[in-house]
Amino acid sequence: MAHGIIHSHLPRVLVVRPPDSFYLYQSQHSHKFHFLKAWESPLPLDQFLSTHARNVQTMLSCGRFPIDVDLLCLLPSLRLVVTPSAGLNHIDLSECRSRGVAVANAGSVASCDVADLAVGLLIDVLRKISVADRYVKQGLWTSKTSYSLGSKLRGKRIGIVGLGSIGQEVAKRLEAFGCSISYNSRKQKQSFSYPFYSNVVELSANSDALVICCGLSDQTHHLINKEVLLALGKEGVIINVGRGAIIDEKEMVQCLVQGDIGGAGLDVFENEPSIPKELFAMDNVVLSPHRGAFTHETLTSMREIAVGNLEAFFSNKPLPSRVMDD
């Protein structure tokens, strides 16, 4: 409480659970903001909030803790939620909208990293890079052993699900490898000449690999279902750098087990960090622990943009990366 008095002149930012590298927000920005650290309090959350956060106007989200109606009810003065992620599925956007709470995210600062990972996973699956590295490091490469061949990238038809900032960066990269690009998105994008499919099953039927780059919403939950996977086919590869729940994970695992699809590169899962154990036995699957945006450089950019949004709010300036409804 003495803590609160000393810093009472600084604008307050509620932090329910700390985002990654929170210590850097503290060390670099505690002269600008007073961070109300709910997780450090012995009080249960609702008590902490009603005692200390009734007048708090801003909140720094951690990207995993849901910002839902129950939480928003306890924050009557909240005007702004800043999330250092690009993903927004942990925030009840319509509830925020109806309460007049603005939301700001990381905009597109993480898009290149996520796109890089999508491309990296695709190359890894097609060229068996992680399998081969395992193989060599186990001492299994001898002149007698034969090695199963991979598959080329040039000429592969890539179906991008979600042609937003991330999808566009994926397209740009894969074109340089000689891949052809098609996409499905909520709306056709007039500034891109890639073939547009309004139906994901059709996109899948015309693709050798699907790259999932969209956000998770009610519309995209289990968008990639059994029908889409079967349309992708026995040689087809699925890459997911969006959110686990965009794919019907049970169905995908079944398809992989039965050989109905050719392989997968996955950075996200329905119940992270739990992963269906069938995937561990598969050499045609590459697994990544949700690290799409997690490079040193991008974490720094995300932190900078989050702080930028908070500073703008407290100076009555326009928010640099406000999430607009569309």
Partner: protein, 313 residues
């Protein structure tokens, strides 16, 4: 043509073996109990050699085969063939350029991603159950990093084009500056290494380029620098590479080739900033078939007195 003796130096994909068997009398060197005796026994009739990147015709073998007319290599790298000797004796040499350019370039980018973003290490992390106990560490961004390429031939250019799509500035070292590219040229590998963050070896192996990446170059690339080799193992001083990595003077490495394949220095096995591949630069179904078609096609053309498809000598 079934009467023509073709000496096959090593096992290759079965498609190639079958296609050669259908057209020629294939003598399989690796099945011989004693190789030099085998060559002696057939020296009067062998008119062609089919080899690969790791098995070629050196001076000794060429001298032992007075009727040798053509060496057809299942590779684009010909450092195991004594080209001078072939020229001297009027022996034709064919190789497999272009059909594998994309595959090798794709793998180079794959290796860069695997090292910078720790793809293999994080896959291991997930499979071992460690993710349940905590997040994997932060890795390093690829987009925008400066890529330095040693050798701006077909493969070097293909790597440059791909890296540009990741917004990477490109620089290079080559024997001579290339007038029609916009990439920045450095007149020495040392200067190149001092000015890039990712160094890719993409030149051919010759006496001049052996150990072109030495201790000094690796120190210049530095503790945050990443070295990628999709050329030939002897391009890099391997013992120096091992100590640079173990001591942290070099930030990471992605290797597809080694000085004494299939031997790989075991000190590298436990390093998470190192990705090791078993010489798979051309290892796709499509590319190996295209390479095989060129090997067979060149031999057929030669023995039908038609122009060779992809001659080097």
């Amino acid at each position: 043509m079934e009467s023509i003796d073709v000496l096959m130096l090593c096992p290759m994909i079965s498609y190639l073996e079958q296609e050669l068997d259908r057209r020629f009398n294939v003598l399989k060197l690796w099945t011989a109990p004693e190789k030099s005796q085998f060559i002696k026994d057939h020296s009067a009739t062998i008119r062609a050699i089919a080899g690969d990147g790791g098995h070629g015709a050196d001076a000794e073998m060429i001298e032992a085969l007075p009727r040798l007319e053509i060496v057809s290599s299942f590779s684009v790298g010909v450092d195991k063939i004594d080209l001078e000797k072939c020229r001297e004796k009027g022996i034709r040499v064919t190789y497999t350029p272009d059909v594998l350019t994309d595959e090798v370039a794709d793998l180079a980018i794959g290796l860069i991603m695997a090292v910078l973003r720790r793809l293999c290490e994080s896959d291991r992390y997930v499979r071992s159950g460690k993710w349940k106990k905590g997040d994997f560490k932060l890795t390093t961004k690829f987009t925008g990093k400066t890529v330095g390429i040693i050798g701006l031939g077909r493969i070097g250019m293909a790597i440059a084009k791909r890296a540009e799509a990741f917004n990477c500035p490109i620089c290079y070292y080559s024997r001579t500056e290339k007038p029609d590219t916009k990439y920045k040229y450095y007149p020495s590998v040392l200067e190149l290494a001092s000015n890039c963050e990712i160094l890719v070896v993409a030149c051919s192996l010759t006496a001049e380029t052996r150990h072109i990446v030495n201790r000094e170059v690796m120190n210049a690339l530095g503790p945050k620098g990443v070295l990628i080799n999709i050329g030939r193992g002897p391009h890099i001083d391997e013992p120096e590479l091992v100590s640079a990595l173990v001591e942290g003077r070099l930030g990471g490495a992605g290797l597809d080739v080694y000085e004494h394949e299939p031997e790989v220095p075991e000190e590298l096995f436990g390093l998470e900033n190192v990705v090791l591949l078993p010489h798979v630069g051309t290892a796709t179904v499509e590319t190996r078939k295209a390479m095989a078609d060129l090997v067979v096609g060149n031999l057929e053309a030669h023995f039908s007195n038609k122009p060779l498809l992809t001659p080097l000598v």
